[in-house]
């Protein structure tokens, strides 16, 4: 009897280990997909408030070093034209540029939680890189069907020592190509505070790319959609591109 119990325990343990290894592999694949070496894109961002008011922005965005560095510059509307922000080290370091005063400000880490232009995205949400790999422990939660696609369901538990952006994230990624299609973000009270929905996934230069991204804030009852108008992964950043110098251009 004892021998059987040990065997069952070993089997369960190895199953959990295998599941965790699967989860790690999936997150690795998702991270690789979401963090191409370089990317240049243009897009629109539309904020819809709880009262139905909308504001629309247009921007150009540059990403490098597998998502470690990014530079986003607003091109419309007129009031924020030229405003830009630079993130380095997976958004650990953020600088913003205000063209009206020609001033660059370095933001402290508390600002990572601030909404970008009043949207439902924080500076931290805009950064990507290997944050899922380094700041979370993934656990496989089986499979679910989202919008007709069979998806892996992965629970990401934040590693407190790594200062994760959220204590917990639940991610659904398509089994066919590891494209994430939904992410639920949880706050300290284990409340699903925000949901990110990725849709209209197109193959651009061999890489599946979500052309539409919608962030829904369940607490504020607002949402922000981002639509990619043009994107290329073949862009090569000039040497020293991700710097204050480019921010001010």
């Amino acid at each position: 009897m004892k021998y059987r119990l040990v065997l069952i325990s070993l089997f369960l343990f190895s199953m959990i280990q295998a599941q965790d290894k699967l989860a790690i592999n999936i997150i690795q694949a998702v991270t690789e997909l979401m963090s191409p070496e370089n990317m240049k894109s243009t897009g629109t961002q539309t904020i819809v408030t709880s009262s139905g008011k909308t504001r629309t922005f247009e921007f150009e965005s540059y990403m490098g070093g597998k998502g470690q560095s990014s530079l986003t510059r607003y091109t419309k509307p007129a009031a924020i034209r030229g405003q830009a922000f630079l993130t380095l080290n997976n958004a650990d370091d953020i600088w913003t540029y205000f063209p009206r005063t020609k001033r660059v400000r370095k933001l402290a880490s508390h600002a990572k939680k601030q909404k970008v232009q009043g949207s439902d995205f924080t500076y931290e949400d805009m950064g990507s890189g290997d944050v899922f790999m380094t700041k979370f422990t993934p656990k496989s939660q089986g499979e679910e069907i989202i919008n007709g696609d069979i998806c892996w369901k992965i629970e990401l538990i934040g590693i407190p020592e790594q200062d994760p952006p959220y204590p917990k994230i639940v991610m659904w990624a398509r089994k066919s190509d590891y494209s994430p299609v939904k992410l639920d973000y949880f706050n300290d009270n284990d409340f699903n505070s925000k949901t990110l929905l990725l849709s209209d996934i197109k193959i651009i230069e061999g890489l599946p790319t979500a052309m539409k991204v919608l962030m829904v804030d369940h607490k504020e009852h607002s949402s922000t959609s981002m639509e990619t108008l043009e994107a290329t992964y073949k862009w090569e950043p000039p040497k020293g591109f991700f710097s204050e110098r480019s921010l001010k251009k």
Binding site: R55, A78, A79, T101, R103, K106, H110, S243, R245, K249
Partner: protein
């Protein structure tokens, strides 16, 4: 800039089919100053023109058309306590203006950015005060308002992704009188720092009273640092200044007007933080050796230096606080508080900003002062400002 500059430059810019953008801004103010209540304001149209002949060249210009209304002539002595006045009237008139605020060309080489022309220079990391900024004097009730351009040659040489060497040269009639400032910018860990040195001349306000030119030869060595500690943004800006008075009629170099060389330090320390409830807090402290520490020691020059921007502050020790919260959809509530720790006066200004439509903002700002009537802020009672702006 003289009108011939506009006449020459505008056709060139227009020929280059630039992008046009800018804003219209209208402001109405009411202010209670002693027994008098003043109303005044302006309508301002700013047109920005920008063209990029190629990826490495940017040509830009900003034209301000500003029309004042209400009280447009101000007696400086109304802003100076009676005991410090040595006259009864020193009027400044605000005429309607058409100003070529900026006109510049930026050329980017692989290892050099060169910007020539009238352009905004905004050095320093402080929000309300910038001891290392020799070009601008900020308005404490609106420190982030755009500054007027300065005619300079500016260069920036990138050393690596985080370090650069930059400099500004403002030519005058000879080298000695020209303004020179250089910065070495770099970073260490989570901190960015900048070391700067400058040499420049300012026309001293002391000459205003008796209508003579009095130049101060100034030099500055400074350092600024910005980073974070314990989740709070943290910055500091320090400047050591040396002033050498070298011109002015000999007759005024008497015991009363004699102005020996002066060495003084200015330092700003600031922190900011966004709390979990999204309230943003910013605090700054300024210490300025050039200011007076005791109210009774203030004289007319101290007030004139302060009002004209010749001195960064009237007295030595100040605090600045800014609180902001995005309370409703596109509506933020904020407040600015300024305190003069030496004379015990101060001012608090609650503000509402409403992004009423895309590209259109309306803001209502008030300020209420405290302190005795002979103190810096106590001299004023209250003010109300309504500002409407729309970008295009």
């Amino acid at each position: 800039m003289k009108s011939w500059g506009i006449i020459l430059l505008l056709p060139c810019l227009l020929w280059a089919q630039p992008e046009f953008f800018g804003y219209f801004e209208s402001e109405a103010d009411v202010m209670q100053l002693g027994a008098e209540k003043y109303s005044f304001g302006y309508n301002k149209l700013r047109v920005d023109l920008e063209t990029r002949p190629n990826d490495n060249v940017l040509i830009g210009a900003n034209i301000n058309v500003q029309q004042y209304w209400g009280q447009t002539t101000w007696n400086i002595y109304d802003f100076i306590p009676g005991y410090a006045n040595i006259g009864s009237e020193m009027n400044i008139h605000l005429p309607d203006t058409i100003l070529l605020d900026n006109v510049y060309m930026k050329i980017s080489f692989p290892k050099l950015d060169l910007t020539i022309g009238k352009q905004q220079i905004s050095p320093g990391v402080g929000y309300a005060w910038n001891p290392t900024d020799i070009f601008n004097a900020k308005t404490l009730l609106d420190p982030s308002y755009e500054q007027t351009g300065v005619s300079v040659i500016q260069f920036e040489i990138p050393i690596n992704s985080r370090s650069s060497l930059s400099g500004v040269f403002k030519p005058e009639y000879n080298w000695d009188n020209s303004t020179k400032q250089a910065w070495l910018n770099s970073g260490l860990g989570r901190f960015d720092y900048s070391i700067t040195a400058a040499e420049y001349n300012w026309e001293s306000t002391r000459g205003l009273i008796y209508q003579y030119e009095s130049l101060e030869n100034r030099s500055l060595a400074g350092v600024s640092i910005v980073g974070e500690a314990f989740g709070w943004g943290l910055w500091s800006e320090f400047a050591y200044n040396h002033i050498e008075y070298y011109s002015g009629p000999e007759v005024w170099v008497s015991s009363f007007y004699y102005a020996p060389d002066v060495d003084f330090n200015e330092i700003v320390v600031g922190v900011d933080h966004t709390f979990d409830n999204s309230v943003y807090l910013l605090m700054e402290y300024l210490h300025n050796d050039y200011g007076k520490s005791v109210l009774d020691e203030l004289n007319i020059y101290d007030y004139l230096f302060s009002l004209s921007g010749n001195a960064r502050s009237l007295m030595q020790d100040y605090g600045f606080l800014y609180l902001m919260h995005q309370t409703f959809d596109f509506v933020s509530l904020s407040a600015i508080a300024i305190a003069n720790f030496n004379d015990g006066s101060g001012s608090v200004g609650p503000q509402v900003d409403w992004n009423i439509y895309q590209d259109t903002n309306i803001s209502l700002q008030s300020n209420f002062s405290w302190g005795a009537d002979n103190t810096e802020f106590g001299l004023q009672d209250w003010g109300l400002r309504l500002r409407l702006s729309s970008n295009f």
